[in-house]
């Protein structure tokens, strides 16, 4: 069996494209009212808990300020992202990818084991032992898959007035529409932080082989 299944590889790159477009069109949307609030309502920048920077054109889709066009991209790629995640989760659940590679074992949570894995990371030693991913990798992927990505979908839906009428409890989960908007923004940057760490670690651990494996599938598990 190859190191990465076809379904994982396909989703990985489709998801990267979707998240890149969602993030960059999201920055364009943020420029329309770069102030964040808590609760249901908020419109006066004086009451904002955070005033967001203005994002330059090279970081946004489209590359000039256009709330209308940014929203078209956001509305379309929300579907690519959400359906992609759903299909990936179902496939990964049934083919054992989640259970075998992502779910941590109890012994990995022992302090001595965790300390050894953290120390190995600090030495830039990325040997995996017997599993496909080491402990910190599993935790990072688990947090992104089960917390960050679903939170983006749920908080994004809670910002939509039509969804608010259909699923009012979803807005309550976040503590109001403006809270959902703030959380949408924070988790988006959390994902950006994941991207940075993810790319840095790929660069430090043999980028040509790592990226190649994510495209072709790589050699078998045993060789990894």
């Amino acid at each position: 069996m190859r190191k990465h299944r076809l379904s994982t590889r396909l989703w990985h790159w489709i998801n990267l494209l979707a998240l890149a477009i969602l993030f960059m069109s999201g920055l364009n949307i943020s420029n329309a009212h770069p102030h964040l609030y808590w609760g249901q309502a908020g419109f006066d920048p004086k009451t904002a808990w955070f005033n967001v920077a203005h994002f330059p054109g090279w970081a946004t889709i489209p590359a000039h300020y256009s709330l209308a066009d940014a929203r078209w991209w956001h509305i379309l790629f929300a579907w690519v992202f959400a359906i992609g995640l759903l299909v990936f989760m179902l496939v990964a659940l049934f083919n054992g990818h989640l259970r075998r590679d992502i779910v941590t074992r109890r012994k990995e949570w022992r302090w001595s084991e965790m300390r050894a894995d953290i120390a190995a990371h600090l030495r830039l030693d990325f040997h995996h032992g017997d599993g496909k991913y080491n402990f910190l990798q599993k935790v990072a992927y688990g947090v992104v898959l089960f917390i960050f990505l679903p939170l983006m979908i749920a908080s994004g839906m809670a910002i939509s007035p039509g969804t608010d009428a259909a699923l009012p409890w979803l807005v309550d989960v976040f503590g109001g529409r403006q809270s959902a908007r703030s959380i949408h923004f924070l988790v988006a940057w959390g994902l950006f932080g994941f991207l940075v760490i993810h790319v840095v670690l790929v660069l430090l651990s043999g980028p040509a082989r790592q990226i190649g494996d994510m495209i072709t599938g790589g050699r078998s598990d045993e060789a990894a």
């Binding site: 329309a32 609030y37 209308a68 579907w79 910002i159 699923l167 529409r177």
Partner: protein, 245 residues
Amino acid sequence: MKRRNVLVGLGASFLAGCSKVADTKPMKKLFAAAENWHRDVQRTLGGRDALAREFSPADISPYFRSNGTSDPGTDSYAAHEASGFADWRLAVTGLVAVPLSLSLAQIRALPQRTQITRHDCVEGWSAIGQWTGPQLKTILDMARLKREARYLVFRCADNLGDGDYYESIDLVDAFHPQTIVAHELNGAPLPVPNGAPLRMRIERQLGYKQAKYLVGIEAVASLDGIAGGKGGYWEDRGYQWYAGI
């Protein structure tokens, strides 16, 4: 550094590619399809008559922000304002059996609905206010829509410089219980910045749907041929017609 240049180049061509793709016909069709999927899923999840959340008086925002036109600024509007909108008429025309021309007094005499709702601007902010007015359904029942009618077009007295403001909704939102022709905000006649003397409230959609300075409601079979043909002032300038997203 070379690698940096490659990255910047990749990023720039990604952006250029995006704007090229966005202008193609298939991409525009895909965007429109995505808009419709959102609308259909929202209406399926909550039902066509799902109510927007209503709040308590304690939740009302300290003041209600106005966006877009804050005063139509025409001589005719100024004259109406000076006379307390005594001669303002709301025309109900188009595909109706009984065209109407309603005065404010007639509109106030209809059964009224009061609702405290959250107004969500497409820019991202929200404000909570209390709106009072007759349900649009009451007026449509008086005018009796013809069978061919599929949309309601709202005609407004304001002009944003390059076109008259207008909006449109389908019959699902037209007959929704919270769709009202509001003449009061927070218990007082509508202030000029918020659309005096009449504005629409379509509570499950964004702020630009809430047409202000309302002078006419027109029942139509199609939005083609009305201004830019996209069903609204902002829609003609690229915004989504279904604004529940």
